[in-house]
Structures are given as structure tokens and as C-alpha cells.
Amino acid sequence: MKARSTILLFAGLTVVLCAAGYYLASAAPDGLERIAIRLGFAHRERAALTGPLAEYEFPWLASPALRKTAAALLGALVCFLALLAWGRYAKKSKVAAP
């Protein structure tokens, strides 16, 4: 079954979202953050691990928009490759199974 057009559409949408996210995304806290502030438990938040691209920023670029876009594209690429690897492994092991 060929799914090239669907793949191209969602790949294109992914790139658009990564590039435009900086301009489009609301800066307001999300539902859980807002409720944590309102109910007084937001102060409990503490990072157990410092992510290299925390706040969705690629720290080695100067422009804030580029920092966000590069981080987003990198994250999307890692997701894509990880799932592609899983799919290939699943396919291989399925073929190998008696």
C-alpha cells in the first residue's frame, strides 16, 4: 500500500510546525501549569535532569527564532529515526519468527 502522499503531507506539516511554532505558540501556561499555580503546588516542580535542549532551544544559535526551529526540527528528527528503527526491527523480527 503506497502512502507517499500522506507521508509527504505530514512531513511537510511537521516542518511547518517546527518553523512556525515560535511565532504561533501561545506563551500562556498550559492547563496543568495554570492549575498548579492556582492551587499552590507549582513550587514543587524541580528538574531531575537538565535536558540539553531545555525550553525547546538549540543553545548554539543566536537568533531566538532559529534556536526554537533548530531544536524543534532536531526533536522531530529524533522521533522519526527512533520510530523508523523500531518499525524496521519489528518488521525483521516478524519475518524471522516461524
Binding site: M1, T6, C18, G21, A28, G31, I35, E45, A71
Partner: protein, 219 residues
């Protein structure tokens, strides 16, 4: 809806992490048995798309934003087990690279967004298929809404057991806000499935004998 580190009590996050491992393993086994090799590239692209879409928060109420979860859409395309695995991959990348969602809370986030989101998101669609494809569009919308609401209820339960606030306030607040986010999720699920159907009807299981039903009922 990603729970950060520190919100959950150690007893809760350890329990959720411990419960997530066998759940993910079970999903991986089911997914491996059912995977359609022609969909592997689409699997990767949809994972990347959900990651990108989750970054773009939109306003849902004054001073409050939300983002799509995407679990219902994934469940319709790939079945709930594979959808939960895609969500697991997205959550891992978000937590480890971007510090979005806690590392200790990964198990809880997997249960809330991955397992609950995928299975509750898929349930109305599955029922519609069982009924011969009737009310398919409302089922898709309801699936999107339900995925968000069920996930929010799970978050409220975990926070309640962690003793961070009154359970009544947590449930009312979280379900109230996410009822609105769920409407957007439902609309996006319907729009995305419709778009996919137009490009390739077989992909979204437009035929009543869907991918998941062919592979064996999953619920």
C-alpha cells in the same frame, strides 16, 4: 498535560514507572505482531508530526493554553498498542532532550498520554467499526475528546494520591480546562483522518474491516 518532576510523590511515580515498563513491553509485543511493514515510514513521520504538534500551544481559556495529544489519531491509524509506543517515543524525547515532562514522571506520563490516551481515544472508533461504521465521524471526534479527558482524569488521580491539593479541586479544574482542549483535539482528529482518507482511504481504515480488526480485535 505533561507532569514535571516534583509534582508526584515518590510512592506514586515509582509505582507508575514500575507499571509502565510491562505495559510498554506488552504494547511492543502486540505492535510487533500486528505491524504492517508498508506503514513503517508513516509511523516515523506521524511520530515526528505529533512531537511538532505538541509544541504548539494554543489558547483554550484566558491565560491558559493547551496542545494536542494526538493519541486518538495515532490509534485510528495504527491501533492503540502502536499508538501508545509512538507516544512513549515522543515522551522520551521530550523528557530527555527538552526537559518537557519529568524523567521520574515518565511512567505516569506514559500512562496518562500513551496508554489512557490511545485506548480511550480508540474506543469510540472501535465501537463504531463494530457497528458497521455507523457514526464514524462523531466517534472520531469523541475519541479525540475522550483521550484528553481520560488523560486529565488520570493526572488528577495521580496528583490527588500525591496529596498536592484537594482531589475535588484537582478533578474539577483539570477536567474543566481539558474539556475545552479536548474539543480542539476532537476537531483535529476528525480533520486529520478526513485528510488522510482523501489521500489514501485504506490508511485510515475507511473500510469497515479496519487494519486493527483484521489484525485481531485489540480491546
Amino acid at each position: 498535560m505533561h507532569i514535571p518532576d516534583g509534582f508526584l510523590s515518590p510512592a506514586i511515580w515509582v509505582t507508575m514507572d514500575a507499571a509502565a515498563a510491562p505495559a510498554a513491553a506488552w504494547c511492543a509485543r502486540r505492535s510487533r505482531a500486528q505491524i504492517d511493514e508498508t506503514r513503517v515510514p508513516l509511523l516515523g513521520v506521524m511520530g515526528a508530526f505529533i512531537f511538532a504538534a505538541q509544541m504548539v500551544n494554543f489558547p483554550v481559556a484566558p491565560g491558559t493554553s493547551g496542545h494536542i495529544v494526538g493519541a486518538a489519531l495515532l490509534a485510528v491509524l495504527f491501533g492503540p498498542c502502536t499508538a501508545a509506543l509512538v507516544m512513549a517515543a515522543v515522551l522520551l524525547v521530550q523528557a530527555l532532550l527538552f526537559q518537557d515532562g519529568g524523567v521520574t514522571a515518565l511512567g505516569a506520563n506514559f500512562w496518562n498520554l500513551g496508554m489512557t490516551g490511545s485506548f480511550f481515544g480508540y474506543l469510540p472508533y472501535w465501537l463504531s467499526l463494530r457497528a458497521g461504521g455507523r457514526l464514524r465521524t462523531p466517534a472520531l471526534f469523541l475519541g479525540g475528546w475522550l483521550a484528553v479527558m481520560a488523560g486529565a482524569a488520570a493526572v488528577a488521580a495521580e496528583l490527588s494520591f500525591s496529596g498536592v491539593a484537594s482531589p475535588r479541586l484537582l478533578f474539577v479544574s483539570l477536567l474543566g480546562v481539558h474539556a475545552l482542549t479536548g474539543l480542539a483535539e476532537g476537531a483535529i482528529t476528525v480533520a486529520a483522518v478526513r485528510m488522510i482518507e482523501k489521500l489514501n482511504p485504506k490508511l485510515a481504515g475507511l473500510e469497515v474491516k479496519s487494519y486493527e480488526l483484521r489484525g485481531g480485535a485489540d480491546l
